[in-house]
């Protein structure tokens, strides 16, 4: 029995879901970047990294959940194409690494209010991984074929 995917039965559902996907990512990545830049010594210098992380963690998680659930919906519209797209696989690999980093080492570094060289390296890795997630996402539409 074939089950019709709502995304494939309406022309508007996919673009609307995509807008929420982008908005979710903007909030999640942007709030993480605010903490990263604070660790690097830029941005909201009136607050410590731990204070910023505490203030933004709800929004980071909320944005991430919106991005992930809308992303699953988008993926379900054409799983074969996405699964075989190298850029999509790159994006997912970077996303998993970024989430693991965010809730382990990155969290510890921010909580400790550390601005040491090591902490700055963690912040740079975090920024690079989230940036790679965006690059991977954009390139999905431009990479033809794949595996």
């Amino acid at each position: 029995m074939q089950i019709a995917n709502l995304l494939n039965s309406s022309e508007l559902t996919f673009p609307i879901l995509e807008c929420f996907h982008i908005a979710g990512f903007i909030i999640a990545i942007g709030t993480t970047a605010i903490v990263d830049f604070r660790i690097l010594g830029y941005g909201l210098l009136g607050q410590t990294p731990s204070q910023l992380m505490k203030s933004t963690r709800f929004w980071t998680l909320g944005g991430l959940l919106v991005a992930i659930f809308t992303g699953l919906g988008l993926y379900s519209s054409d799983p074969d194409t996405y699964y075989l797209n190298l850029s999509f696989l790159f994006k997912i690999a970077c996303l998993i690494l970024a989430i693991i980093l965010n809730y382990t080492i990155h969290g510890k570094v921010a909580k400790a209010d550390s601005t040491s060289g090591g902490a700055k390296v963690v912040a740079c890795i975090s920024l690079a991984l989230w940036g790679a997630v965006i690059f991977g996402g954009i390139f999905i539409a431009f990479v033809q074929g794949g595996l």
């Binding site: 673009p15 995509e18 807008c19 982008i22 908005a23 990512f25 903007i26 909030i27 990545i29 942007g30 709030t31 970047a33 605010i34 830049f37 830029y42 941005g43 909201l44 210098l45 009136g46 607050q47 204070q51 910023l52 203030s55 933004t56 709800f58 929004w59 989230w130 940036g131 965006i134 690059f135 996402g137 954009i138 390139f139 539409a141 431009f142």
Partner: protein, 169 residues
Amino acid sequence: MLSLAIWLQQTGLMRALRESDRGYEILLSLHVSFIALFGATIAMSNLRLLGVAPRGYPVADIVDQLRVPKRIGFLCVATCGFLLFGMKAEEYYLNVFFRIKVLLFLTVAAHALIFRPPVYNRLSESAADSPLPARAKLAAGFSLVVWFGIVCAGRGIGYIHPPPFSHHF
């Protein structure tokens, strides 16, 4: 205006970018990355005005500190956006979602003119623990809605492929 768009996309820089191997995709990725940084500063300022985040700090403290990152972020977003436009200026000019996006940017400018003097420039006068006036919350809510609209219109641009269905205004 159309002739200006055609002239822009024929300039040496835009031609070189357009003919480069992955220039458009890389610029678009940078554009979206900067939008994430810029968008978060917009969201944090406005959410603080609405009283939902980040709590515990004076509103003026948060909004004032975010001013410079916001401006740097906007400059980066606008630079990438201008280059993306210039690469395919004629196509963008005729794209209905691009026009909606421009209209929404004009709305942002109007928002700044209307709300900056009475709201954003007077935040330091309000006490840290006193509730903000309804006008401040209106300004913040309106700003969030318009910026979300800009994100949607920006994404919509990609859904219209040449030849565009729109006509000249």
